[in-house]
Amino acid sequence: MEHHQVLRIVSRFLIPLIMLFALYVQFHGDYGPGGGFQAGVIFAVGFILYGLIYGVERLRQVVNPSLMRSLSALGVLMYAGVGVASMLSGGEFLNYSVLAEDPVAGQHIGILIIEFGVGLTVASTMTILFYAFAKPY
C-alpha cells in the first residue's frame, strides 16, 4: 500500500507517537489507567500499522520473528524471575516487599519489572499473531 501517499505519510507520523504513547501507558500505570497488557497491545499496534502499510515481508526485516519469539519468552522469564527472587530474599512467591530495604520501594521495583515483562510478552505475541494471520509472499 506504499502508493497511498496520504496513508503512508499519516502512518509515518503516527507510528512513533503510538509507540511513545505505549511507553507512557506502560510506565504511568502506577498513577493512571494502564499497565503492561494495554501497553503491549498499543506497542504492537505500531508494528502492525507498519506491516499493513509496507507489507509483512518488510515488517519481517524490521522486526525479526525469531527475536519476537525469544522476547515473548523473556517477558515470562522476567515475571517468574521476580517471583523467584522474592522467594530467595525470604518472602513468598511474588511478595515484592522483600525486594528492597524499604517495603514500599520494593513494591515499586517489583511491579515495574513485572509489568515490563507482561508488556514485552504481549507486544511480541501480538506481533507474532499478525505474522501468523498475514500470509507470507
Binding site: E2, L7, L14, I18, P33, V45, L52, I53, V56, A134
Partner: protein, 96 residues
C-alpha cells in the same frame, strides 16, 4: 447539561449502528463503523468528566488510535484479500 450530552451521544451511536446495519455496500458499513468509533471516543471523554475521572482521556486516545488502525486493516483486507501484502507484491501479481 452534561448528562444531556451523554444522551445525545448515545443516540448518535445508535444511529451510526443502524446505518452500519442497513448500509448497502461494504464501504458504507465501514464508514458507519468508523463514525461509531469516533463517537465512542467522544463518549469515553465525556463520561470520564461526568464521573470525575479525567484519566479516561487516555483510554479515549487509545480507542482513537486503535480504531484508525482497524479501519485501515479492514479496508486493506477487502481491497487485497490479505493483511500482509505490499504494493510490490501486487505488481508482481500483475506481471504473472
Amino acid at each position: 447539561m452534561v448528562e444531556f450530552t451523554i444522551l445525545l451521544i448515545l443516540l448518535s451511536m445508535l444511529l451510526a449502528l443502524i446505518s452500519a446495519a442497513i448500509g448497502e455496500t461494504v464501504y458504507d458499513k465501514i464508514l458507519a463503523v468508523n463514525i461509531f468509533g469516533t463517537i465512542t471516543v467522544l463518549f469515553i471523554a465525556v463520561y470520564g468528566f461526568v464521573t470525575g475521572r479525567p484519566d479516561f482521556l487516555d483510554i479515549a486516545l487509545v480507542y482513537a488510535l486503535i480504531s484508525f488502525v482497524t479501519t485501515i486493516a479492514v479496508l486493506k483486507f477487502f481491497e487485497y484479500g490479505d493483511m500482509g501484502k505490499s504494493s510490490t507484491d501486487r505488481e508482481q501479481d500483475i506481471d504473472i
